[in-house]
């Protein structure tokens, strides 16, 4: 966010930001009227269109090295609402749009509605909710107003929860209810915090708030409530209890979108809160505490993942661990002198993006394995690598990215975080990062070695897996590998609109 001007203004291409939000809204409204038979076709047009918009916004911000902004209804804040896309926003927008589009390709096999003559339940719900998630994520990335962000969180919650229990089994209903309770608790805490901040500063606009904010009891209470609420939504340890059953029980395409995309929304909001709304207010102790929660998530999530018997649960616990890395940016990027190290923030965002691509690929691969074997017991995976080579290759590449081997995006992210631990002399986080990588490699290799092994009895495949589903999974996995190459150029976009990093000499 630009810090200087009190009056914000609509920039030349700001209108694109409105488009990024209302395209999915148009899709939702159209799907309600035209019915579920058309929902997939509508999503098939609007999701790629949304990706196009995101790409144009990305290129504009990258080339001009300026944030894009739009004043809704020509009402200046504090009365009105602004939309603002800085470097973090545009990078996340493009990444999430790509992931959502590929998940859409994958989901055609399970939720295809072109051939049926009447509206059916699961496709209608899935496509509408997928569009809603894409709109809500865009809102979270570009909204410059704390209450609009609350509306976005609500959109995201109500779109994500039904995806968990899409197949209607009793245990998934239970998982969905638990998710709903955690998510609503998070929403209400965020809302209370927003109300407190408005009461203290008389504005909801992020730029205005960042100029007025100072340390006082109400602000501290608000920040704590909002952060804890968002922790619950992001499933940061120890508020992760809802995540494994919810993400493991959902249909594969839904698991992919929940694990890859949805948890990043509330994470992004935490970053906005501490880096843009209240820059410099995070105390050293607070940052270390958040980092400690992240570190516990990495260790516990990975250890529990190692002990899982079912593939989808293993991947879900791995999400709990990978979320932990995201929170290491708080001790590493915010330091006591209120300087902000660009590298740790960049590393954290890259971790969010590479986890999104890798985890979506892995959940898709697990879904294909489940579809063809009829189960996902890890000990019974023998021979599957021979039957579904492309799928298991995608799984392996995703795993390599999670471990953090070069040249993957995961490598670059963890390397930037490690570099920040050295630069800020906080060696203890480096130990956690490296230990996490080792544990991750252990469970990825367990799965791969089982899959490469010989089957105990001749393998019978329940269903043939469509080629394009395998291609979608592999595409995402390849993306996660190639993400490491962004170091050669586009990575600078993350710094657009940020105050000049004082430690730029690190590069």
């Amino acid at each position: 966010m630009p810090a200087a001007t009190a009056l914000e203004a609509t920039t030349a291409d700001g209108a694109l930001l409105v488009l990024a939000i209302i395209l999915p809204v148009i899709g939702i409204l159209l799907s309600f009227v035209l019915g579920g038979r058309y929902a997939e076709r509508i999503a098939g047009i609007l999701l790629p269109a949304g990706l196009g918009v995101a790409c144009i916004v990305f290129l504009k911000a990258w080339h001009s090295e300026k944030s894009l902004s739009y004043i809704v209804g020509n009402w200046q804040p504090p009365l009105g609402i602004t939309l603002c896309a800085d470097g973090l926003s545009v990078a996340m927008m493009v990444a999430m749009a790509i992931v959502i589009c590929l998940i859409g390709v994958f989901a055609h096999a399970n939720f295809g509605s072109r051939a049926v003559s009447v509206e059916t339940r699961a496709p209608m719900v899935f496509w509408v909710m997928l569009m809603a998630i894409s709109g809500a994520m865009n809102m979270i990335f570009i909204s410059g107003d704390l209450f609009t962000l609350y509306v976005a969180l609500e959109l995201l919650t109500f779109a994500a929860v039904p995806l968990v229990c899409l197949d209607g089994r009793a245990e998934t209903l239970q998982a969905a209810l638990r998710y709903l309770l955690f998510a609503l608790l998070g929403s209400i805490l965020y809302l209370i915090g927003t109300a407190l901040l408005y009461g203290s500063y008389g504005t909801l606009d992020i730029v205005l708030m960042s100029q007025r904010v100072h340390l006082e009891p109400a602000t501290l209470a608000a920040a704590t409530l909002m952060t804890v609420g968002l922790f619950a939504k992001t499933a940061l340890f120890p508020l992760h209890l809802w995540l494994p059953p919810a993400h493991a029980g959902a249909p594969a395409a839904a698991s992919a979108v929940l694990s890859a995309v949805v948890v990043k929304g509330s994470f992004f909001l935490i970053v906005r809160l501490w880096f843009d709304v209240m820059p410099g207010l995070l105390s050293v102790a607070g940052a270390q505490l958040v980092g400690a929660l992240g570190a516990s998530a990495i260790i516990c999530g990975n250890v529990v993942a190692l002990r899982q018997r079912r593939l989808k649960l293993l991947i879900a616990y791995s999400t709990v661990a990978q979320i932990g890395y995201l929170f290491l940016i708080f001790p590493l990027a915010a330091d006591p002198l209120h300087l902000q190290y660009g590298d740790a923030l960049t590393g954290g965002m890259l971790q969010a993006i590479s986890h999104a691509t890798a985890k979506a690929a892995m959940f898709m691969a697990a879904g294909l394995v489940y579809a063809s074997l009829g189960h996902d017991e890890i000990s019974e995976l023998g021979g599957i690598a021979r039957a579904l080579p492309m799928t298991m290759f995608a799984f392996g590449l995703g795993g390599v990215c999670l471990i953090g081997l070069p040249p993957t995006g995961g490598f670059l992210a963890k390397w930037l975080l490690l570099e920040a631990t050295v630069a800020t002399a906080q060696w203890w986080w480096a130990i956690v990062i490296i230990a996490g990588g080792l544990l991750t490699s252990a469970y990825v290799f367990i799965v791969l070695s089982r899959a490469m092994g010989a089957p105990s009895e001749p393998l019978t495949l329940h269903a043939a897996v469509p080629k394009y589903q395998e291609v979608a999974a592999l595409g995402l996995a390849l993306l996660s590998v190639l993400l490491g190459l962004v170091a050669l150029g586009p990575i600078d976009v993350l710094q657009v609109g940020r105050p000049e990093a004082p430690m730029a000499w690190l590069r």
Partner: protein, 313 residues
């Protein structure tokens, strides 16, 4: 102490007592009844604070609609006869501790207010005449923060689709079963014939007056939804099948009109969700009217629950 402050202190004590008993009572049904009473008392408190719009919303949504949804949930869980999961002492203590922390945080914030409490109210009143509206709350909802209002309506649609998604596959497109609420009896039928004409007029009035005085689409829509539900529960009308085109049309009518006017603002007023000078009030009243209908249908269908019976062709 004046009579007003005695009344206020008594009201606060009553709200706290009802709030505590909502948590302490053992039976779910009793807790819901307490919750509804709590909502009504809160709305009186809002009136005392001169926030009539908030009071109306609290009474309509907080007490009325939420209470109805909770009653439905109690009845449903009774009809399938599930024993609630036993919550152990550690979980209860942890809940207590967390609630106490939140209360402590709020108390700290409330007891140290800024010396000058910042407010946007004067700025809102200054800018309000441009829109021709008289009610500052409507101004905030439909002029300054129209984007939030528009997207909140989409949230409502998603919530409804989420409820529908709980239906079994074969019942998709069919009718919700409302039998959980009540068996129809003569008194109910009499009420369902007597109240709706009054209620409908009142709901429309609330929507219409919202541009000038307290009221508006959400409150009006809730009253209309309540009347509709009364007629359905009494068995005078069937709940519509969720696949009906007219139903889907009504559900999206409000958001579609709102979005269309917002997009038109791009052409005629130079910004998304801006109104052309001089046309703001009629446009907003039109949006409010359409939203009232959409909200009424959405809330009614939310309370009616997921479809249970397949539609007879």
């Amino acid at each position: 102490m004046s009579i007003a402050s005695v009344f206020d202190v008594a009201l606060v004590a009553l709200i706290l007592a009802i709030g505590a008993s909502t948590i302490l009572v053992r039976k779910a049904f009793a807790a819901v009844v307490m919750f509804v009473v709590y909502g009504l008392l809160l709305s009186i408190a809002w009136v005392r604070l001169h926030a009539v719009d908030v009071a109306l919303t609290e009474a309509a949504i907080g007490g009325g609609m939420t209470g109805l949804l909770l009653l439905g949930a109690v009845a449903r869980s009774r009809s399938v006869n599930v024993g609630g999961p036993w919550i152990g002492r550690p979980a209860r203590l942890a809940t207590c501790a967390l609630c106490a922390l939140v209360v402590a945080g709020l108390a700290i914030a409330m007891l140290h207010p800024p010396e000058v409490i910042p407010t946007l109210a004067p700025t809102v009143m200054e800018s309000l005449p441009q829109s021709g509206l008289g009610n500052p709350v409507a101004g905030v909802l439909f002029v300054f923060r129209a984007l939030d209002t528009l997207l909140e309506k989409v949230v409502l649609l998603l919530a409804l689709l989420g409820v529908w998604s709980l239906a079994p596959d074969r019942a998709w497109g069919g009718m919700p079963g409302l039998h959980v609420y009540a068996r129809s009896d003569p008194t109910l039928i009499f009420l369902a014939q007597l109240l709706p004409p009054v209620g409908i007029v009142f709901g429309i009035y609330m929507c219409w007056v919202g541009a000038k005085d307290p009221g508006g689409a959400f409150q009006g829509g809730t009253v209309l939804a309540a009347m509709w539900l009364l007629v359905i529960v009494a068995g005078l009308q069937k709940a519509p099948a969720i696949g009906r085109l007219w139903l889907r049309g009504l559900l999206v009518a409000g958001p579609v009109l709102f979005l269309a006017i917002g997009l038109a603002g791009w052409v005629f007023a130079d910004a998304f969700l801006a109104y052309p000078a001089g046309y703001a009030k009629p446009l907003i009243v039109a949006v409010e009217a359409a939203l009232t209908l959409s909200i009424a249908v959405a809330l009614g269908m939310l309370a009616a629950g997921p479809p249970e019976r397949a539609q007879q062709q």
